[in-house]
């Protein structure tokens, strides 16, 4: 087969490869352009036609923005909120996922469909009632308001349930004969076996929380509570003419995500491929 169509296949593969190179370039250019602008002085950034290579490199943009806006505080806030959200999801989602997969209890099907139906309600859609609820609960303008509403994820429960379903039943039967309770079976027996899924869940939740824009926009009025995405948007609305500063902030905001992604990309892809859910 390969021999018969050897040349045709070679040409086709060449074209396919070019499509991929072109596409990858298209994905890369906006980031490269923001990096390039972030290293220019203001007048050089505004020249038309634009130039790609900054001359000289204006690294001071990266120093300046730390004193113009409390970007350090935003990073601390983002890290704090995303870590708390991730920790909460790891605990709650795996507990619920375990029960739905391994414990046969009355009403389980109902609970399962209840959880799955939550997937149909996107966060943005309930923005208004959620805002009023958070206001009544005293969760505006504090970290709690940015953590509690996303402390559990229906997608995360679903993901963990799939992982626990794949474990063999015999393990638990043996443990039960030894008289182990459910929580011990969960913690010591099953949980260590789904570590890869836990890592996938942690990464997906951390990233979603780190990138979340709407929830901090609703909750955080004080600049001291802003997270990185909210902070840079507010920064943009105030300094909308100084593009080198803004691009430096955008690069700084993208960098941690990029590093985490490069280190753990295998787990991300796995998460998307196995659940197909964001």
């Amino acid at each position: 087969m390969v021999k018969a169509h050897g040349r045709g296949r070679g040409v086709a593969r060449g074209i396919y490869f070019l499509i991929l190179v072109g596409g990858a370039l298209l994905m890369f250019v906006p980031f490269a352009w923001s990096l390039s602008t972030s290293l220019k002085g203001l007048s050089q950034a505004m020249t038309y036609p634009p130039i790609w290579w900054p001359h000289p490199f204006a690294l001071q943009n990266y120093v300046k923005i730390w004193s113009i806006v409390p970007i350090g505080q935003w990073f601390v806030n983002s890290l704090l909120v995303a870590s708390a959200v991730t920790a909460a999801n790891l605990v709650f989602d795996s507990l619920a996922g375990y029960a739905l997969a391994r414990i046969e209890f009355r009403g389980r099907t109902l609970v399962y469909f209840g959880v799955v139906s939550m997937l149909m309600i996107p966060f943005q859609a309930v923005m208004l009632p959620l805002y009023i609820l958070l206001k009544d609960m005293g969760l505006l303008d504090n970290y709690g308001g940015m953590i509690a509403p996303v402390a559990v994820s229906a997608m995360g429960i679903f993901l963990m349930r799939q992982a626990f379903l794949a474990l063999p039943q015999e393990l638990e039967d043996a443990a039960r004969i030894d008289g182990a309770g459910r929580f011990r079976m969960f913690l010591q027996l099953s949980l260590p076996l789904v570590t890869p899924t836990l890592l996938t869940l942690a990464l997906m939740i951390f990233l979603a929380s780190w990138n979340n824009f709407l929830l901090p926009l609703l909750v955080a009025n004080r600049a001291a509570l802003w997270t990185v995405p909210l902070g840079i948007v507010m920064f943009q609305q105030e300094y909308f003419v100084n593009w080198p500063y803004l691009m430096a902030a955008a690069v700084l905001a993208t960098l941690p995500v990029g590093i985490v992604f490069l280190l753990f990309q295998r787990w991300f892809i796995r998460g998307v491929a196995t659940t197909g859910l964001k």
Partner: protein, 317 residues
Amino acid sequence: MAAVGHAGRSSSAGPGLDAPPAPRRGLDIRARETRAGYLFTLPSLLVLFLFVAGPALYAFYLSLFSWSLLNHMHFVGFANFVNLVHLPLFWTAVGNTVVFAAVVVPTQTLVALGIATVMNQNLPARGFFRLAFFFPAISSSAAISIIFMWIYNKFGILNSFLGGLHLYGPNWLANPAYALKAIMIMNIWTTSGYFMVVFLAGLQAVPRELYEAAAIDGASAWQTFRSVTVPLLRPTTFFIVVMGVIGTLQMFDQAFILSGGTGGPLHSTTTIVLLVYQFIFSYGKVGLGAATTVLLFVFTLLATIGINRWLGTATQY
């Protein structure tokens, strides 16, 4: 979290320490399992009810009242819905959102399918390409929106590039005829790579033998694609279209950031969710915002049912 720790301890200590007499054991196990099941799921159910299902129900309730957040609520029945359908801005937002979804969903699905198919050809550096296409999808929408505002600048890199091709480059974000298009392009750029990875996973699940059989039958690449790949990817496509429609109908971040929260110029980027935001924070009309939320639920549900009718039934081979 304290509640979970307590729940765990009590359910684990019970059965191990004082094992009940043999005859009653069967019944007890079932009762204990039910208790454990609810102790394990309760924290999650509480949070989901409080912050997802509860607000959704609350929206229905609020849609029947007139309220500015500052005054007293008073019951107005369905008046909010009546006012809403007579409000031109509401229909502008619905129109913008529907057009946005109608352009973005097919485009991103086709682009994602195309790239996934190419990627599935066993070409070199596949890992690198997958990374490159996926990266925009995991970057912050805020950072990307700001980067694109700069790219879309009247004297920005995009118009310079278009000028090089002797094409007209509009003032993208300030021109009502182009602002929504600019957001569409950015959105497709962001999400295509994500759905590509989903398609790629679906493609890798297609049995090799089917392609080999098609090759033996002398099918062309296009015939193979149409008769083997597309039908077998139907469940994946269904999922991607549903996610795409739900995602685009709720579009907020990008419209908010690129228009500075105004939905402008001339309401050309006001989406349904952005209008909801403005109803609370700009106009102080909670009831109208809640009514809009309820109608958004209805639209989303109808769209999902429609797609289910169209793509939902899986093809069996």
